[in-house]
Symmetry: C2
Amino acid sequence: MSMTTGVHALVRRTHEERVLAALRAHGALSRGELARRVGLSRTTLSEITANLLQRGAIIVADTDAATRAGSGRPAERLALDPDSGQFLGVDFGHRRVHVAVADASHEIIAQGVERYDDDPPWAERLEIAFDLIDRLSRDTGVHFGALQSIGIGVPGPYTGARAGTPAVSWKNQLAPDGVDLAFAERFGAPVVVDNNTRLAALAEAISRPDAVDNLIYLRLSDGVGGGLVVSGRLVTGSRGFAGELGHVTANPSGAPCRCGKRGCLETIASVPSILRACSEAGADVENLADLAAAVAKGDPAVDAVLREVGSTVGRVLGAAAMTLNPREVVIGGEIVRIAPVLVEQAAATLRYELYSIPSDQPHIVRAAQLRDSDGALGAIAAIFHQSPLLAGYPDPTASVENAPQQRSAL
Amino acid sequence: MSMTTGVHALVRRTHEERVLAALRAHGALSRGELARRVGLSRTTLSEITANLLQRGAIIVADTDAATRAGSGRPAERLALDPDSGQFLGVDFGHRRVHVAVADASHEIIAQGVERYDDDPPWAERLEIAFDLIDRLSRDTGVHFGALQSIGIGVPGPYTGARAGTPAVSWKNQLAPDGVDLAFAERFGAPVVVDNNTRLAALAEAISRPDAVDNLIYLRLSDGVGGGLVVSGRLVTGSRGFAGELGHVTANPSGAPCRCGKRGCLETIASVPSILRACSEAGADVENLADLAAAVAKGDPAVDAVLREVGSTVGRVLGAAAMTLNPREVVIGGEIVRIAPVLVEQAAATLRYELYSIPSDQPHIVRAAQLRDSDGALGAIAAIFHQSPLLAGYPDPTASVENAPQQRSAL
């Protein structure tokens, strides 16, 4: 082989790798988008993709007709061969586990949910999850022949500390130590574990056409939690507790919180706290369905409670946003769909709190795009780690020493 | 040259580069520290350093006798040849400019201050700074023959936006557009500009023997500002306003703030606000010297004001720390030296606010190590960019396209 041929082959392989990496990170892309992302001319790119198509490494997935702005002929979108890799996402909640499987082109090809009693032991949750995955595989024909990695969301703070560091105990709940190893042993793939609210923040950040590199995410649910994306990175904090917005003091003389303080945001803006406040205001509201009905009929007492809660949420988010200057603030949890006034009021309060910060984006607050039941999609987002957003996120293939937040059993 | 020799030479050069990079990033280090940082055996390292010493690329700076823990023979500390590079740091305040020059071994070899009237136009400040640098050079013999880069701190938010983006105007104060170009043209070296409070946060983070990768810095001065180091990176936020802790609302019904809101932390914890509160409490306190005298005699009215302010500072820092889970919270400004009770009270309040977060560090709050007058040291910290802390900080030698926060005129 002549020197020139050798160099050409090397350059071509480098180009091919960049094209494959872009498709791995972004799913299906048109040739134009691909050329822009990998920095190649259209001509060079066409040569590369023709070769990859011929070898079956990539396929024509669809056209961009559905999402295309303007007129003109729709462009083909290229994607990795879907069979060339699978990604498994698992989200453990307090009362259910959600599993989703994505293929190499980032399509979700199977998902399912299994409920369990409140906070069962982790050994039991694992069995339930494994059974669910087996059943999904049987029912849908999904296989894990080329499983790339596994993302797992767990409730509560997660520091990823293991060797030599005792598991962190918080609010009397033991960290799910061993979950990663159990999955890694069963599936023989690298595992990333993180707090599921933090993973939801990441999923929201990369759910936008142009990924958001500075985002604050707050989830209102049985508890109140949060997650931060700062400078394009998911933030864990020094001990894994970053984003604990639910335990920011909102009212120093407020109600006792399960954490031992008083007036934490969670005592005001969690779903149980909101339902209780509605009842105390005289509304007949015991659950989210009742709340939806009260909102639908325009119950003024419920509206007042929701505005008051929204205002408190806006103040706490205001302090966080003055600290971090995010591009977006996202509020998640089923309640934001049921009670949009809560998000509207939080947005109004936040606008005041950020009054002194010039912005070309007057409306930075939005409701989350993903639902609580989509938890496993956040875990999958974490393992699509080639996303530019994840530059600083632990690479699931890296060694344990370099990446304390994740562990590979391989 | 045989293949083996070629590879050996390449390996040796790689090792040499890592040793030089470590000395560039950390200043003087003993051979033991060097071996640990670059991951070489003591034997290999000794060969490398012997060669570098022989060639004059590095020197024996001193021994670690002064800082050494335990007994044993003091170890020599190696450093880059001081003459092999200079770093220029400039800090523009509202009423003075501070200039410092460091050599390649990170020693400050010259510094000076020049005062000016309140907020003169930038053209005037530049002239004053250039004159000061010329005078320093004349008086101390410091030359800029191998100037590596220039770090510049400016008051107010700094986004680094230039081409196509209008300079940000904030609180009616124009961003110091053009300062970077003026320095780059005069000195022919790459320039990094950032907000000076943010640079102070960075300087505090790297001032510790083991650099702190998660830190919240708050400065109490004529105004109140802050800076954040998150996951080892200095945070700018989406528009350059991250760290504006002075304009977090501390009391919604408080005094009007210059920013247009009410009860911002600045209306309570800035030096003028604190002096005013002391006067209103009946103390004869007009300036920091009066305050120092009142503290020295134990004036109970002044003590009460300082504790109240410390408590408010602690609450605002508590919200920020629940959000970011930092390893350290640092409070700076001359007032923290004059009134240590303020920091003590803030620490006590913060301890309560973080009650629910397990920590092996009960005391994460400390007073800043650097004084306000040390501003240029923060700017110099920013250009010692090989520090691991600065992995994500714009490289002053990188191209403009890749690094929006900095611009090189070269």
